[in-house]
């Protein structure tokens, strides 16, 4: 029926070629095929459009079609022109109404539409002027709600129905309606699926105060809904989806992005509708909220209430009401039987128990308080270092627990005698009596541990390799996960606000409470703003070629010097390391082993200081670049030193036919870690402390030292890398690292409180954290994986010690195990998995191929989204311009109306309007005018 109606209209109008051919025309837009075929071809959101075609079902309001065709920028422009051309400030709805009302009265569709429009134009003007155009923005909201064609069309229809009673009250009710619609959608979906129109009158009530009118409209609406039965609507399936979306958006509006990537625009706009401009919602808003809350589980309900921008009293009231309603409905439906009562009581107790325990665990979280204090005194940037430190600490506690329970405890049940005496130097060198403990690889047995009297056995070889392997896999995924999260949260379209003055102005860190820190922060902000301003001022001034050349030369020189220093350090480590073995054979003294770690730590401590002194000569235009360059240089130095050490371990020690080379490597790593720890202590105690004494007492100009976040974080990454390499050779290493990290946390904290100032540059904490996690993943963890892979697959384990003694390579433990399993029929699936998946090249080839394809697809999607974002951004700007233009026009009209308050003149105006509306290419004119 509806299709027929429309087609008829279309045919009628096709008699007038100037109308059908000009896209800007009102009537041609109504035609079902013409605009949409265009849309679909141009549009990225094909799917959404397909949905929109379903809104054709509303015959009363063919113009509702105009509303959803936004995503295509081209169409949008036309549409804009169209709207301007009409000169109806109340937007589409006015025309819609007048058309739909008037058309039946007049036989000629063309005439009628224009005539009616002209008739109504004045009325609409007179009203729309008053409420200072409140609907425009919200209207935009509803238009940008791509997943929700119902909302737009419903609003339109309802408003068009509404008009007969209130011809002057254009614009407002439906705008308000669309605004509130979001909140009400849930209720409709859940409780009143038949009457989708109700909430649109929400705003109408407030603004107009004519309850009888909207009452009737309501009736009409619900009738409509019955007439065009929704069950046949394609959107029906979407209802559940909608309510789910609503629910999610309410809980955390911004995060809707994650789950509904296609609707990113929607989520970015929706919060406004949720937290409507008036923080205290009217009674109906509250009722809607309550109604929507009733059917949710208690937890979600509390969360939603909690996240409402309301005062505590109102929240409490809402909660009480919801509970009452719920009880009422429960009483009405069925009397609660004993069982459900029991269940609810249990649920209540459980929740209470959970909150109590979570509080308990929170109180156990020792670092939370510390972190809070640091945050309050130094701001989020320094806090980010400490949260990274605690994150690593927790990570190491986890790895310690894993290693301890699966490797160390079984080994401890099978003790070996330790006949070396403890001297104290072992703590530093890790050699001596430590050699014969569970600390090192060499101590572990290769046999199967059997308990006397019971049949259970524990294969140490497999336990060792599986524990470490699984640990690394867990590390890999957790790193990947945190990196991805961090990227997603912190690099959302960073190009939009390139300069970020706005960010600076609104970036006040409300966590800071100490007076000094506040003053410092204010000063930093001032300087940053000034720098920003000077950049803006000098933007157009191109620096002379000479200056640019000299700057380039300085950069080049700095890079050459820094790389040279790094290479020199590596060479020194290399020669020392390869001569070290000879040296150690000559000197049996344990302390001699400390020479290499000492040198490495010296490099690690002093070369970065040297690098940061480059800042005196090297001037960067953007301060952030300086930080990045320093980080790159430091990471290059540290990673290449570790690389050289690994080369030394794998190529020299491992093939040196020493008695137990794995233990030797473990000892080396232990020494490096310990030495590094001592150097860090030394650095914070003497470096920062002395620096403060000098800065405050002797040379006042130096001042108090700043806390260098980059250097400290890189130090942490370096030690973590060493630990990951060492975990294979010394399974107890996480325990030692855990202790050192714990001490470091406290020392750094105290030193920070006593000696340091927050960094003076505005530090983008979250983006830097992303970078650090990335660094931890990419050169560090992947490098470790390579080293361990070589160890497992290529190297021959030592013949006399360790769990893998006697095997040609460590991986042969697995081969042997598979061999054994293939003889047992019940384990054949393991063998199958191993042969066909893990051991098969083809499987990995296909897997890689699939991953590459998916990556490519996502890449393309991202590219598309970027274009989309650009277009939508342009669209928003154009909307704004459009709005301003219309408002201007309105004001002009208002003035002129005031001047000429006599009827005949007004009549003349109307006629002018009509003639203007009938112009040949009004869209072009407006475009020229408006843009």
């Amino acid at each position: 029926m509806t299709a027929f109606y429309r087609n008829q209209e279309y045919e009628q109008e096709s008699d007038y070629p100037d109308f059908t051919n000009s896209r800007v025309n009102l009537d041609s837009l109504n035609s079902p095929d013409y605009p949409y075929s265009r849309n679909n071809s141009n549009n990225l959101k094909f799917k959404d459009n397909a949905k929109y075609s379903s809104t054709h079902n509303y015959p009363n309001c063919p113009d509702a079609l105009n509303s959803p065709d936004y995503p295509g920028a081209e169409d949008y422009l036309d549409n804009l022109g169209f709207r301007n051309h009409q000169e109806y400030p109340g937007s589409h709805t006015n025309t819609t109404f007048s058309r739909s009302q008037r058309t039946p009265d007049y036989p000629g569709p063309r005439n009628s539409s224009h005539h009616s429009r002209s008739k109504h134009s004045l009325d609409s003007f007179s009203f729309v002027m008053i409420p200072d155009y409140p609907g425009a923005k919200d209207y935009q909201d509803s238009r940008e709600d791509p997943d929700d064609p119902d909302s737009g069309s419903n609003a339109y229809r309802s408003s068009s129905k509404n008009y007969p009673h209130h011809p002057g009250s254009l614009g407002i009710p439906d705008h308000m309606g669309t605004k509130d619609y979001l909140g009400s959608r849930n209720r409709n979906n859940q409780n009143y699926p038949g009457s989708l129109g109700i909430p649109n009158y929400q705003g109408a009530e407030d603004n107009l105060g004519t309850p009888d009118n909207w009452g009737s409209a309501y009736k009409q609406n619900s009738q409509n809904n019955h007439d065009y039965s929704y069950s046949e609507n394609p959107e029906m399936g979407n209802k559940g989806h909608h309510s789910g979306l609503f629910h999610r958006t309410l809980g955390s509006p911004g995060r809707g992005n994650r789950d509904y990537p296609e609707s990113f625009q929607m989520t970015s706009r929706q919060p406004t509708s949720l937290y409507s401009m008036h923080p205290v919602p009217d009674r109906d808003g509250e009722e809607k909220l309550i109604a929507s809350l009733i059917n949710l589980p208690t937890r979600d309900r509390n969360k939603i209430i909690r996240n409402q921008p309301l005062t505590m009293q109102e929240k409490r009231k809402i909660k009480k009401k919801v509970n009452m309603e719920k009880q009422k409905s429960a009483n009405q439906s069925i009397q609660l039987n004993y069982c459900t009562q029991c269940l609810t009581a249990t649920a209540l107790h459980y929740r209470h128990f959970k909150s109590v325990t979570s509080e308990f665990f929170q109180s156990l979280d020792v670092w939370q308080r510390t972190l809070k204090i640091i945050g309050s005194k130094f701001g989020t940037s320094v806090l980010s270092y400490f949260s990274f430190l605690t994150w690593l600490l927790k990570f190491n506690i986890f790895s310690f627990i894993v290693n301890f329970s699966f490797i160390i405890i079984p080994q401890l049940t099978d003790p070996k005698p330790n006949n070396l005496s403890f001297t104290g130097l072992e703590l530093l060198t890790g050699a001596g009596s430590f050699q014969q403990t569970v600390l090192y690889y060499g101590f572990y047995t290769n046999s199967t541990i059997k308990h006397k009297g019971s049949n259970t056995s524990y294969n140490m070889q497999l336990a060792y390799i599986f524990t470490i392997g699984l640990y690394l896999v867990i590390c890999f995924f957790s790193l990947l996960y945190s990196m991805a999260c961090s990227f997603r949260n912190n690099f959302i379209n960073p190009h939009v606000y390139s300069r970020g003055t706005a960010k600076l102005v609104f970036s006040w860190d409300f966590t800071i409470t100490r007076e000094k820190a506040v003053k410092l922060k204010q000063r930093n902000l001032t300087t940053e703003l000034k720098e920003n301003l000077s950049e803006i001022r000098h933007e157009n001034v191109i620096t002379p070629l000479k200056q640019r050349l000299s700057r380039f030369c300085i950069h080049l020189a700095a890079w050459i010097v820094s790389t040279g220093v790094a290479i020199a350090c590596c060479a020194a480590v290399y020669f020392l390391a390869f001569n070290n073995m000879k040296f150690l054979r000559e000197h049996k003294n344990q302390a001699a082993t400390l020479l290499l770690p000492f040198l490495v730590c010296c490099f690690n401590l002093f070369v970065p200081l040297f690098y940061s002194s480059f800042g005196l000569v090297e001037k960067f235009e953007i301060p952030r670049h300086q930080v990045l360059v320093i980080i790159i240089r430091n990471i290059f130095l540290k990673i290449s030193i570790i690389g050289i050490l690994c080369y030394y371990w794998l190529n020299s020690i491992a093939v040196s036919h020493e008695e137990c080379w794995e233990t030797l490597i473990g000892q080396d790593i232990y020494r490096l870690l310990m030495m590094n720890f001592l150097f860090t202590l030394f650095d914070s105690i003497f470096g920062e402390f002395l620096r403060r004494i000098i800065g405050t007492k002797l040379i006042k100009s130096l001042g108090v030292p700043e806390f260098d976040i980059a250097r400290n974080v890189l130090e942490l990454i370096y030690t973590q890398t060493l630990l990951w390499i060492g975990i294979f050779f010394a399974p107890l290493l996480p325990f030692i690292h855990m202790i050192t990290l714990f001490i470091m946390l406290n020392v750094k904290r105290i030193s920070l409180m006593m000696n340091c100032l927050p960094p003076s540059k505005v530090w983008r904490a979250s983006q830097m954290m992303t970078l650090f996690i990335f660094l931890l993943f990419f050169p560090s963890f992947t490098g470790v994986l390579c080293v361990l892979a070589i160890t497992v697959w290529r190297l021959k384990p030592s013949a006399q010690c360790g769990p893998f003694q006697g095997l040609p390579s460590i991986i042969h433990a697995i081969y042997g195990w598979i061999e054994i399993l293939s003889n047992r029929p019940s384990y054949l699936w393991v063998v199958w998995i191993y042969r066909n998946l893990i051991g098969s090249v083809h499987f990995f080839f296909i897997l890689t191929l699939i991953v590459v394809i998916i990556t490519y697809l996502y890449w393309q999607i991202i590219e598309g989204r970027k274009i989309m974002i650009k277009l939508l951004h342009e669209q928003i700007i154009n909307e704004g311009k459009d709005k301003m233009f219309l408002v201007e026009k309105l004001l002009k009209l208002q003035e002129s109306q005031k001047k000429t308050n006599t009827f005949p003149l007004a009549q003349e105006r109307r006629e002018q309007e009509v003639s203007l509306n009938n112009g040949k290419s009004p869209g072009q004119k407006i475009r020229r005018h408006g843009f």
Partner: protein
């Protein structure tokens, strides 16, 4: 819910220890707020006392914060207002809620828009008046240029939230 007879719902204020906050509130003005809260539930602690709290005393926006969270708009707070303030300021509060209140804090004249005048006030608070008026004007212009998506010359809540969506460092 707790022994003092005040009805605090811990589920409504995200993981803020309500009882602890009550004691904080009581300690602010012991002569005004009695331990038996039920006898006088609507008692208000004046702004002067609120603003001298260690959490707020050095905050350049303390006056605005108190005004935004107090129901009378003058910064005098009831216990409920006090709880509201802490629950929003707590780190558990969702970012959008924080953004909403931050917007209100920056909106000095309560007109639901951050207009250039509001921005100027913000700037003065942020920089303690160290920028020249010309510079302040420039910065305001720049900010509005950057963040005003719909080109109406002022920042709406929409614009503000949009900007915050792109800036993860906000409002930790």
């Amino acid at each position: 819910m707790n022994s003092k007879g005040i009805e605090l719902d811990p589920e409504l204020s995200p993981k803020v220890e309500s009882a602890w906050l009550f004691y904080r509130f009581q300690a602010l003005a012991p002569q005004l707020v009695t331990l038996d809260y039920t006898s006088n539930p609507g008692v208000k602690v004046p702004y002067e006392v609120i603003s001298s709290m260690p959490e707020l005393k050095d905050n350049p926006f303390r006056e605005r914060i108190a005004q935004v969270f107090s129901q009378d708009g003058d910064g005098n707070m009831t216990l409920d207002d006090f709880l509201d303030m802490f629950s929003v300021m707590s780190e558990m509060a969702p970012r959008d809620l924080k953004a909403y209140y931050a917007f209100k804090i920056y909106d000095f004249n309560n007109d639901d828009y951050i207009c250039p005048l509001d921005l100027e006030k913000t700037m003065i608070k942020l920089t303690r008046g160290e920028l020249t008026p010309e510079e302040v004007g420039l910065v305001c212009e720049k900010v509005i240029n950057e963040a005003d998506v719909d080109n109406d010359g002022k920042l709406s809540l929409d614009d503000f939230q949009n900007m915050i969506l792109h800036a993860p460092d906000f409002l930790r």
